[in-house]
């Protein structure tokens, strides 16, 4: 039987911009995935713990405050440390082009900026999910 793709949508740090996280959560749900939304103000520990508890395939991080180079990388590294190598990490927000390649090197495999159609995120996840 086909297991539904499970996605954790998380808001790391203090950023309060929730519009896009909620839109993406709904779009993934409408595309047939199981979506868990953490709510606001999550530390890397909280996010990784939730990823383990919820047994997710994907962690989606949303941040519009500009702290992505710190907070996305924290989550990605901690996931690896805990041995969750088959969980993919994607992220979105106000992310300058020059940071995108740096984030990809740090294991944030998909980075989506403003104006990204939801379908593109759905397709990306379906194509790249590891299990």
């Amino acid at each position: 039987m086909n297991r539904k793709i499970r996605v954790l949508i998380a808001k790391p740090g203090l950023d309060g911009h929730v519009r896009s996280a909620k839109i993406v959560a709904r779009a993934l749900r409408d595309a047939g995935m199981e979506v868990i939304y953490t709510g606001l103000h999550q530390t890397a520990d909280m996010i990784v713990e939730a990823a383990i508890q919820e047994d997710v395939d994907v962690v989606g991080l949303s941040l519009l405050s500009g702290a992505h180079m710190t907070l996305f990388v924290d989550v990605s590294r901690l996931l690896k440390e805990k041995g969750l190598n088959d969980v993919i990490v994607v992220g979105g927000g106000i992310i300058p082009e020059e940071d995108v390649s740096k984030l990809k090197k740090e294991g944030i495999v998909g980075v989506f900026g403003p104006g990204t159609p939801c379908d593109k995120i759905v397709d990306f996840i379906k194509k790249n999910v590891k299990r």
């Binding site: 911009h17 103000h41 403003p114 379908d119």
Partner: protein
């Protein structure tokens, strides 16, 4: 010739026109869409005539600027007398860097200041708090103490220029920094002017930088109202904001309804405390978004003024100053595109024009690069120039409320008002604003509207130029603002030094007195001022209040 036609005669003509020319025209050339609507989803007809506003009474419903119901503006001369304040929201990195940016903006003709704080500051944390990690100076300036405030405004004439501060959860403390800084510079607090946002209800609803639960938050806000009209009379102690509600994805109607609903909630809390409405209401101010639908935005501002005047009158306000709604406007950040960023200049110009035609008191125009990063100096200058072009070149400022009496605008103004009252009925049924927040009502309404909007774009039912149509394939080359990499270290060292050098026993005593007062019912402003004067930091002061009041946790719903 010269004989006036009655509305029924006009109606007859319109029916003829509908029957003959219009239906003939649409048969030969069908319209591009079967339904035209505003961004809020209000259906728009092909033509508006006198019939559509026949139910309005000129004197009662439209009237004159500067008099009740203030639909046409808050002053009789409006921009003929004084232009709106050009107030660019700015802040990044350390107090030193932002101070430089303010001076740059003032040199280029800005007429008011507006402070953006970073996330740790917005949540009442000092820069060295663990939760501040990665956030220093990122989307605003870090202000952890009176010391930082001194630097932020050094060599800026705060006795002459007004300052708006976007701060909510810890607004009372940050306002105290500003007052204390003025006092230390020998400027009396009854001279300084400005605004603190201080609107916690929309934080729960949309912007999310809340600290305490609703009840103590409302108490702190009423404390600032009372302290303000008694001791800092030129200060707007709240800016009741629709901006963030709209940015979170609401429609214009929701922005209007939720914001004014919040406004009335503050009035009720202040009156419940025993404050007299005509004492505090003159210092209530508002803040709206200027989004893409030109006429709907104008209708929104006009409706807002009329509804507010009517509702305040119902609550017993007598003074004109209490009844008239003054507001700030910012163009819609969420409408900016990362693609072809230069075209954002055009979007911003149209949005800014709607704010001016809607009678705003002050205006922020967004920079073209804000969907990519913090704005560069050049981008900010162009945004400011956009306001200057409207003011100096367009001629729209020559007469007051030039769209007053437009069949479409008056009809739409009325329609927005009608929709607002419908929302209020629903909120009432849920037990009022705070209960509706706790039930997630506003949050769900906004998330739904945001998702609908995004789906329309994804399915190309709504065109966003440069995003889902008229696209080009080119690298986006926008110079990105570089921040001083030493800023954070300098800030942390300054904090360490401050904690070492101040009179710590005096500071501790003041914090203890604040704790006791917070446990009772005294107005907390004087206690907070004592704390900040003795250089208690933002984090230390807010921690005392966190201990007494607790923290708000919201439902995670999407």
């Amino acid at each position: 010739m010269g004989k006036k036609e009655t509305p029924s005669q006009i109606k007859g003509k319109k029916v003829d026109c509908d029957k003959n020319c219009y239906s003939e025209a649409t048969e030969n050339h069908p319209e591009r869409k079967t339904r035209f609507e505003t961004l809020s989803g209000i259906e728009v007809k092909n033509l508006y005539t006198r019939d559509d506003i026949a139910h309005l009474d000129y004197e009662k419903d439209i009237g004159f600027p500067g008099v009740y119901p203030f639909l046409r503006g808050v002053h009789s001369t409006m921009y003929r007398g004084r232009l709106w304040t050009m107030r660019q929201f700015a802040g990044f990195g350390s107090a030193e860097e932002t101070n430089q940016r303010y001076k740059y903006l003032l040199e280029h003709g800005e007429t008011g200041l507006s402070v953006a704080f970073d996330y740790p500051t917005l949540y009442g944390y000092d820069t060295d708090h663990p939760l501040a990690r990665g956030e220093f100076g990122k989307c605003g300036v870090a202000i952890s103490s009176l010391k930082d405030m001194e630097i932020l405004f050094s060599s800026i004439p705060i006795d002459k220029i007004t300052t708006s501060m976007t701060i909510n959860g810890p607004a009372a403390v940050v306002w105290a920094f500003y007052i204390a800084n003025a006092e230390n510079r020998g400027i009396s607090k009854d001279i300084i002017g400005g605004t603190i946002q201080n609107d916690i209800l929309k934080e729960y609803i949309a912007q999310k930088s809340f600290i305490f639960p609703p009840e103590p938050s409302m108490r702190l806000i009423v404390d600032t109202f009372e302290y303000g009209y008694k001791f800092v009379p030129r200060w707007n102690t709240i800016s009741i904001s629709g901006y963030h509600i709209r940015e979170a994805g609401s429609t214009a109607v929701q922005e209007l309804a939720f914001t004014l609903g919040d406004g009335l909630e503050y009035v009720r809390w202040a009156m419940k405390r025993g404050l007299k409405i005509d004492d505090f209401a003159p210092r209530l101010s508002f803040f709206f978004n200027a989004h893409n639908d030109f006429f709907e935005e104008i209708a929104k501002y006009r409706a807002a003024r009329r509804i507010w005047a009517r509702e305040l009158k119902k609550l017993g306000a007598k003074k004109n100053r209490s009844l008239l709604m003054r507001f700030h406007t910012q163009t819609a950040g969420c409408s900016l595109t990362a693609q072809q960023p230069e075209i954002n200049i055009t979007r911003v110009a149209l949005q800014a024009l709607s704010a001016v035609l809607g009678g705003t008191q002050s205006l922020h125009t967004n920079s073209m690069d804000e969907a990519l990063a913090l704005p560069s100096e050049k981008a900010v200058r162009i945004a400011l120039r956009t306001q200057q072009i409207i003011a100096e070149e367009s001629g729209v400022i020559s007469t007051v409320d030039p769209l007053g009496g437009s069949y479409y605008v008056e009809w739409l103004t009325d329609k927005m008002e009608e929709e607002t009252y419908k929302y209020w009925d629903r909120v009432e049924q849920l037990g009022g604003v705070i209960s509706a927040i706790e039930k997630g009502f506003f949050q769900r309404e906004i998330a739904q509207a945001a998702y609908k909007y995004q789906k329309e774009i994804d399915e190309k039912r709504r065109i966003v130029v440069g995003v889902n149509d008229y696209t080009i394939d080119e690298p986006i080359e926008i110079p990105i603002l570089k921040m001083d990499e030493k800023g954070e270290e300098r800030q942390i060292n300054r904090l360490k030094k401050l904690r070492r050098d101040r009179d710590n026993s005096k500071m501790q005593k003041n914090l203890e007195r604040l704790r006791k007062a917070a446990e009772g019912d005294d107005n907390l402003m004087p206690y907070i001022l004592d704390c900040v004067h003795s250089y208690a930091t933002l984090g230390e002061t807010c921690q005392v209040l966190r201990d007494v009041f607790g923290e708000y946790k919201e439902l995670a719903i999407y």
